[in-house]
Amino acid sequence: METFIGAVINGLALGMAYALIAVGYSMVFGVLRLINFAHGSIYAFGAYMVYFFISIQVGLFWSIMIAIVLSGILAMLVDKLALEPLRKKQSIPIASLITTVGVSFIIQNGLALEQVFTSEKKGFPSLNLFPNIMIGNLTIQSSQIIMFAVALVLLAVLSYIVNKTKIGLSMRATEQNARAASLMGVNTNFVISFTFFLGGCSAAIAGTLISGYYQIISPTMGATIGLKAFAAAVVGGIGVLYGSVVGGLVVGVVECIAAQYLGSNVRDPMAFVILILILIIKPNGLFGKKGVSKV
């Protein structure tokens, strides 16, 4: 029983971090109807920036803050430099999609360059910032609690921004009808940049939280997790923020239970097993809106 509860707790913590990555896919999909496959590489970039600033003796807190902002800016630049020109030329959607895949490889391989961080794995500081909690035979690591709590708070903040602020209202308007939004005075290019910025920031935070838990980073770390979080976003219904949270938690919990009882090789494919099952039952995902998910 304890091992089961342990797996669930582990899954909830990881799942909340997946949710934080998943909302990035979801928000960008919302405003652009585009799946941003560069998102996973921004996640890795964020973790590497924390690693780098700590290595040059900037303290943990400020390293994380700087990394978050830089990742937000990188995500925004990806859009400005690679995607916005395609939108201006009204290219076919697949052009943007393949561009995000390409950008993902460029960032990932950029991190792996010999002159940059090399392709070797690096140690990452532990985020076990306070003592672990013991309940009977069950240990809950403080990094798990931090991961769950920080991701939860940030998701609440994101949800507040989207649903209660003026910029959030302009995001939702752009999502539904960019032309009409511009008639209201909304600078839709700014809204799109802001959305990428928010997505990049949350990816960096998730990257920090998850790396602080596993205490290891590598340039390709974003590839699998990025796909998993994308699966989580689709499971919950892409474009719906709370859908990403539920999707992330489902993926996290199921994969941890599967890893516990069926072996760790079963962990990574679980997200996609869930994805396929859910899509067969509910083609738009758990909370998806009809007609939105056409790509």
Binding site: L169, S170, Q176, R179, A180, L183, M184, G185
Partner: protein
């Protein structure tokens, strides 16, 4: 003169949609632009509001050159468009749609006044504040589109076929509202296929034919012009 359009040309790829249009709107007027389907009416409003690019020509508003200014900047010049087909935000509530109309403004008290004004004009919207716009009837969506355009407190209101698809009693109501909005001090440029109604509320009118102005003048005079009668008032003038 409030709005002055000189030699306006618009191309969509190889389609030459506007072929040198000259138009003027004076403060306080209702000016209507009539013409059959595909004549270029919506394109004209699109060019004024920054949605489509002018390939040649000039648009001046209150003496300022606003040609090819992006749409989101045109709104802050106090020009606002209620587009063809309404284009309300279906998943947002009536209130959020109106709030977006006031996006360029920041004074809370003044925005609240505008809410009150819109609710006075359209009491039916007030009853549906929290309802998603997509669930409103066609007439209510049209009211919302006009109300939303008023929320920026425009000096010039551009209306693109506000009566399209509405039942006859609602059409009458919309035209009454257009007149009262104008009496309250908003200048209006109105596009209509319902030429008879448009000419009856307008002070002046322009007739657009395949991208060119073919006639213009006093609305009441145009109403009796045989060329207008045969082309645009054909099926209505039997009264």
């Amino acid at each position: 003169m409030m709005l002055k359009i000189t030699d306006l040309n618009v191309h969509y790829g190889f389609i030459h949609a506007l072929k040198g249009i000259d138009m003027e709107v004076n403060e306080g007027e209702i000016v209507t632009l009539i013409g059959s389907n595909g004549a270029g009416k919506s394109t004209t409003l699109g060019a004024i509001s920054g949605l489509v690019k002018a390939s040649k020509g000039k648009i001046e508003f209150e003496g300022e050159n606003i040609t090819n200014l992006p749409a989101y900047k045109v709104v802050s010049k106090k020009i606002s468009l209620s587009p063809e087909g309404r284009e309300v935000f279906p998943a947002l509530s009536v209130e959020e749609n109106l709030r977006l109309g006031a996006f360029t403004r920041s004074d809370k008290a003044e925005i609240n006044q505008s809410f009150e004004r819109v609710y006075d004009l359209f009491p039916r919207l007030k009853e549906r504040i929290k309802q998603p716009a997509g669930t409103l009837s066609g007439g209510e969506q049209q009211m919302l589109a006009i109300g939303r355009a008023l929320m920026s407190r425009p000096k010039l209101l551009l209306l693109d076929e506000p009566s399209m698809g509405l039942a006859p009693n609602l059409v009458l109501m919309i035209f009454d509202l257009i007149e009262s909005i104008n009496k309250q001090g908003t200048t209006i440029l109105l596009i209509e296929q319902n030429a008879n109604m448009a000419l009856s509320v307008a002070h002046r009118a322009y007739v657009l034919e395949t991208g060119k102005i073919s006639l213009s003048g006093d609305a009441k005079e145009l109403m009796n012009d045989p060329r207008v009668k045969s082309a645009y008032l054909g099926e209505i003038h039997e009264t």
